[in-house]
């Protein structure tokens, strides 16, 4: 449902034209630039509605990109850059929630449902008396079945 009210868009639309590719911001070293670029989609533009700094042209996003590039250029590892940003701006800045205890429900639930569901499904079924209920066909049933199969094959 990509329907938009005026408010949201007035803020966003002017600013939202894929800013990260702006050549004037790039780092000279292509390896470092690639690392910085890989980090951008994980970082939120916090004044925007719901965009990463890779997408946004807001001033804050440009500032954050600058910080990330500086940190990368200064030889920090990806993890160090992330830690730095989280220390400075809080957990909100990362689009990928941390694997922490308070986020346990978030990360575990999807897989827990499938896992427990599958266990429940197979246990219930193997314990069910469906073998017993499926007595062999009586001769009459067998005759009817043969007849039906014959009529279907026609």
């Amino acid at each position: 449902m990509k329907r938009i009210g005026l408010l949201g868009w007035l803020l966003v639309a002017v600013l939202s034209m894929g800013a990260a590719a702006d050549p004037s911001e790039r780092l000279a070293d292509p390896v470092l630039e690639a690392r910085a670029k890989a980090l951008f989609p994980q970082i939120r533009c916090m004044v925007c509605q719901n965009e990463s700094i890779d997408d946004s042209q807001a001033d804050l996003a440009a500032d954050l990109r600058k910080i990330v590039r500086e940190e990368v250029a200064a030889g920090r590892s990806d993890t160090e850059v992330r830690t730095y940003l989280v220390q400075r701006y809080g957990e909100y800045v990362m689009l990928k929630p941390a694997f922490s205890l308070t986020n346990g429900a978030l990360w575990v639930t999807p897989f827990a449902i499938v896992f427990l569901g599958l266990i429940g499904f197979f246990l219930r079924k193997s314990g069910s008396p469906d073998q017993a209920q499926e007595a062999a066909l009586t001769p009459e049933e067998q005759a009817l079945l043969t007849k039906l199969q014959a009529s279907e094959a026609e």
């Binding site: 009210g5 894929g18 994980q42 990362m94 929630p97 308070t102």
Partner: protein, 665 residues
């Protein structure tokens, strides 16, 4: 005057919906054909009234009657006619009217055209649909009335957001709402099943066409929205896991699960409670979406102008409708007769796994959407849940579903031969693994997840062919027999094959595009060029190109590959004075299934005093598959819907012919 008629008819439709509920309920209690008929008549009349109201609002938009607050806020006299009309549903108020139009329209179709339904059950369906109508019409009349006049009409309207002035988006809401609200009928059928205490093959057969129709419409709606986001936002992306997108995706996922579980209930009488639960769930998620989008509880790139008061009202409606539905479920479902038994390895078993994964996927999307709210309320800490989360949770779940999918149709009902099915799929598995390895080896940089995704896509597509080959006994029977069987395949089977293949096509496109798209950007003066992938993009000229309600700079861009011309593209950067808003009009060069995607940026000072324009170019390989796949799925839904067995009157005929008429698969 016409606007007042519209307002009047809207109120009338509310009263008629209330009458529809009352008459149908009395009819059900007294088992009176007169009251049944009266309730059905009221349903038809309510639809007629909303239709008049809708036409009146459209008239106000077309004639640019700015004394109507909604028109003044969302239209402009200089806007092209298509967007004046699309403006009707471009605002909160108008879109709720569209919602009501669909709600009463579907109700009227069931009331007036579904003739084979048992009278008592039909009365409950009509009453339930009427109750939903009362809720939403009351909301529209009292809290979101599109016909409110302004005491001092402005000379000119504030115009529709320019980003919405786009053909794909003009048709996006009608499809989307058709899908959302189509599930309301399924909801009402579920309520009727619970009230009547009867969930059987006939009931499932009634539910299936409606869920198919709603699902297909929703699929088209979401695809149009994604395509719009792709070329209108100018970021090169098509899905952002944005709360508003998630809001439309959750009913789709539940609807997909419902389609599959309804098959089990129809063919085998199994899982009746679960199918009813999903039938209630699909519309509940539709209503949840309506609430999320309009209440402002979530920050989103594309939310409606938000109003907390309306949000609370919508939440109340959601609470009443879903609460009643699920309350009824808790009370009555235990009394439903349990269905047929089946072994874990069977068609039913595969469909149960499908449902399990789809439910988990829905919960994942719901959790990802609402977790920031929950956590902030509980701990006061705010966090973000974005694309990386969904890539790590939703994508693996889908991978599991994809893995199981081709096996399911090859298993027989009740107890299947799992090993046999896998043996028949060895070719599909071989091709899939080969493709995944080739992609992994050829495409640099290496993306393992994307290669696996592509392998799964191929697995689905080849699996579909294997399944058809099995059905027609290809290679086992004589050519004449194969032809006969091919001609005899029911449309439902073709529909399923199309939908499954479409999913595979989508997976191919989505994985490849996401992993290997290439992006380049540079400030170009005239006749300078940049390289993106194998393509050279040259800015030949920039001209003024003004439209009815905007002024624009249009770049004339020549795209070549190895010196050979590929296409001339005309991306634009538009300025809409009515909204003082700038948008980019992306130019797409279709190259096979790939897109060369060009965006015109702002003017900058170039070298040597020459002006320059920021031109961004993307090479989006296989991008068209992303939109083609879902359209194939929707087409599959439509083909399946045209199956004679599923026509709205079909169950009656089947019932008349007796139980033997159930066709063999």
């Amino acid at each position: 005057m016409i606007v007042e008629i519209g307002a009047f008819c809207l109120i009338l439709s509310l009263i008629l919906s209330a009458a529809q509920v009352g008459l149908s309920v009395i009819g059900r209690i007294r088992r009176s054909a007169v009251f049944y008929g009266a309730g059905e008549g009221a349903a038809g009349a309510a639809f007629l009234m909303v239709m008049i109201a809708f036409a009146a609002l459209m008239y106000a938009f077309v004639t640019s009657d700015f004394s109507v607050a909604n028109v003044a806020a969302n239209s402009h006299s200089a806007k092209p006619m298509l967007y004046k009309i699309a403006g009707v549903w471009g605002s909160h108020e108008g879109s709720m009217l569209l919602w009501c139009l669909a709600l009463t329209g579907f109700g009227a179709i069931v009331a007036l055209m579904a003739r084979g339904l048992p009278a008592a059950m039909k009365a409950v369906v009509v009453a339930s649909q009427g109750s939903l109508g009362v809720l939403f019409l009351a909301y529209t009349v009292f809290a979101s009335n599109p016909f409110v006049r302004l005491l001092q009409p402005p000379v000119e309207g504030r115009s529709l957001n320019p980003l919405l002035q786009d053909p794909a988006l003009a048709f996006h809401p009608p499809f989307l709402y058709g899908g959302y609200v189509g599930f309301s009928i399924v909801f009402s059928f579920a309520v009727a099943a619970l009230v009547e205490g009867r969930v059987d093959a006939a009931w499932a057969r009634w539910v299936r066409p409606w869920s198919l129709a709603a699902w297909s419409l929703l699929t088209v709606g979401i695809t149009l929205g994604a395509f719009w986001a792709y070329y209108e936002l100018g970021w090169g992306g098509w899905w952002f896991w944005d709360p508003v997108e998630n809001a439309s995706f959750m009913p789709w996922l539940i609807g997909t699960a419902l389609l599959h579980s309804a098959v089990v209930t129809e063919k085998r009488g199994a899982l009746p409670g679960w199918t009813v639960f999903l039938a209630l769930g699909a519309f509940t998620f539709s209503m949840l979406g309506a609430f999320l989008v309009r209440s402002g509880v979530l920050t989103s790139v594309h939310a409606f102008a938000v109003d907390p008061k309306r949000g609370i009202l919508l939440l109340t409606i959601l609470g009443i409708a879903a609460g009643t539905g699920f309350g009824l479920f808790a009370w009555r479902a235990p009394k439903l007769a349990p269905g047929g038994l089946f072994a874990p390895i069977s068609r039913e078993g595969a469909l149960v796994i499908n449902n399990l994964v789809l439910s988990a996927a829905t919960v994942t999307v719901l959790l990802g959407t609402l977790y920031p709210l929950i956590k902030e309320a509980l701990t006061g800490q705010s966090l973000s849940v974005g694309t990386p989360y969904f890539n790590l949770t939703f994508a693996p779940l889908m991978g599991l579903a994809f893995l199981v999918l081709p096996v399911g149709p090859l298993l027989s009902w009740k107890r299947g031969d799992g090993l046999g099915a896998l043996q028949r799929l060895w070719a599909a598995a071989g091709v899939a693994v080969a493709i995944a390895l080739t992609v992994l080896w050829v495409q640099k940089p290496t993306h393992v997840a994307a290669a696996v995704g592509m392998g799964l896509g191929v697995w689905l597509i080849v699996g579909v062919f294997v399944e058809i080959a099995e059905r027609i006994h290809l290679g086992r029977a004589s050519p004449a027999e194969v032809r006969r069987r091919l001609g005899g395949l029911p449309r439902g089977a073709w529909g399923m094959s199309l939908a499954h293949a479409g999913l595979g096509v989508f997976a191919l496109g989505a994985c490849f595009e996401t992993a290997w798209k290439i992006e380049a950007a540079q400030a170009l003066s005239l006749n300078q060029s940049i390289t993106v992938g194998a393509y050279q993009v040259q800015l030949s000229d920039v001209v003024a190109a003004n439209g009815a309600n905007y002024i624009a700079e249009r770049g004339l861009v020549t795209v070549t590959k190895n010196g050979k011309p590929v296409c001339d593209a005309k991306p634009e950067r538009r300025f809409y004075p009515a909204n003082s808003q700038t948008t980019s009009e992306v130019a797409l060069c279709l190259e096979g299934l790939d897109d060369v995607y060009l965006v015109m940026g702002e003017r900058r000072a170039g070298t040597e005093g020459q002006p320059a324009w920021l031109v961004r170019a993307y090479w989006n390989p296989l991008a068209r598959l992303i939109f083609l796949g879902p359209l194939l799925m929707a087409l599959g839904g439509a083909v399946s819907l045209s199956d004679r067995r599923l026509r709205f009157a079909a169950p009656r005929r089947a019932a008349e012919a007796g139980a033997v008429a159930v066709p063999a698969e």
